[in-house]
């Protein structure tokens, strides 16, 4: 078992990867939320707002390090068709898995503050994934 297959990234590159995952989550929650209702929908809105805040935080961190944050894509291909509440929740779990894996790259950089930032973000994302999945995982983020 190991982390990123491509080896450790630099700090800005890892932040860019996390930003890309957050942008994908923002788009995906828009799709998933459309099929949810009640408490699930409220939770989706809460998480969507959290991902927007994370996007803004990452954008600021990349800029502060001299990087240029990549803009979100206009459309993201979904991993499967979403046409029910169950599929919406499965998509939300998948999105959080992607976010967790992206932050795992931050944990491998030399900058200690970025490592801690990435680890804490992983804990949040893994918690959201567990909520949607209804179960915990032994190794969130690891392949």
């Amino acid at each position: 078992m190991s982390g990123s297959a491509s080896g450790p990234l630099g700090g800005v590159d890892a932040l860019e990867r996390a930003l890309a995952a957050e942008n994908a989550a923002i788009f995906g929650y828009g799709v998933a939320g459309a099929h949810l209702s009640g408490a699930s929908r409220a939770t989706a809105v809460q998480y969507w707002t959290g991902h927007r805040q994370a996007r803004d935080t990452l954008t600021g961190m990349i800029t502060a390090r001299g990087g240029t944050p990549a803009a979100a894509a206009a459309y993201y291909r979904l991993p499967f068709a979403v046409n029910s509440a169950g599929a919406g929740m499965a998509l939300a779990a998948r999105l959080e898995d992607g976010v967790t894996a992206a932050y795992l790259d931050l944990v491998a950089v030399a900058d200690v503050q970025l490592r801690t930032f990435g680890a804490l973000a992983m804990q949040s994302a893994a918690g959201r994934a567990a909520y949607w999945r209804g179960a915990t995982e032994p190794f969130p983020g690891l392949p």
């Binding site: 982390g3 795992l104 680890a119 804990q123 918690g127 032994p138």
Partner: protein
């Protein structure tokens, strides 16, 4: 012609008069001063293994004698994930010859069911926090394993809070 006994007896004298120590004669660690000190990463990893063993022991203690039910089902699942953590942590540990593994941890949780679950939850939170603090000074690969286990432990704490 000196005898063999005389030659053997003269060896320490030769060392002493030449100001030599065994370290001057052997490349690498001095075998007369015990095994080399453990690498910092090995020390951190050993501590993480010990902490994980305590968690496993605590879960087993809480589960012992419990009747089947929703709580037991969850605790059994979480225990199996901690056992997986332990397996992965131990797989990364390379201890030089001459060192002994730490004794197996034990724990008891004889209090009531509610307080036992609260104790597990506190232990999960403490484990996640400790692993996050230990990300400095370890290799990228070990940092990722620690971070993943910390994330898992954080989700365990949330699941236990929902009981």
């Amino acid at each position: 012609m000196p005898t063999r006994r005389l030659l053997i007896g003269a060896v320490p004298l030769l060392f002493a008069t030449a100001g030599c120590s065994s370290a001057d004669l052997f490349a690498g660690p001095d075998p007369l001063h015990g095994p080399p000190s453990l690498a910092p990463e090995t020390v951190v990893l050993s501590a993480a293994i010990t902490a994980e063993e305590r968690l496993v022991a605590l879960y087993r203690s809480v589960l012992a004698g419990r009747a089947a039910g929703r709580t037991t089902t969850l605790l059994t699942s979480l225990l199996s994930q901690h056992e997986a953590h332990l397996t992965q942590l131990k797989a990364r540990l390379v201890v030089p010859p001459g060192y002994h593994a730490s004794p197996s941890a034990s724990a008891s949780a004889s209090a009531g069911a509610a307080s036992a679950v609260a104790r597990l939850r506190a232990a999960e939170q403490a484990s996640a926090a400790a692993l996050t603090r230990q990300l400095t000074g370890v290799s990228p690969a070990l940092a990722q394993l620690f971070a993943s286990i910390a994330a898992s432990d954080a989700t365990h704490a949330t699941a236990l809070a929902a009981l």
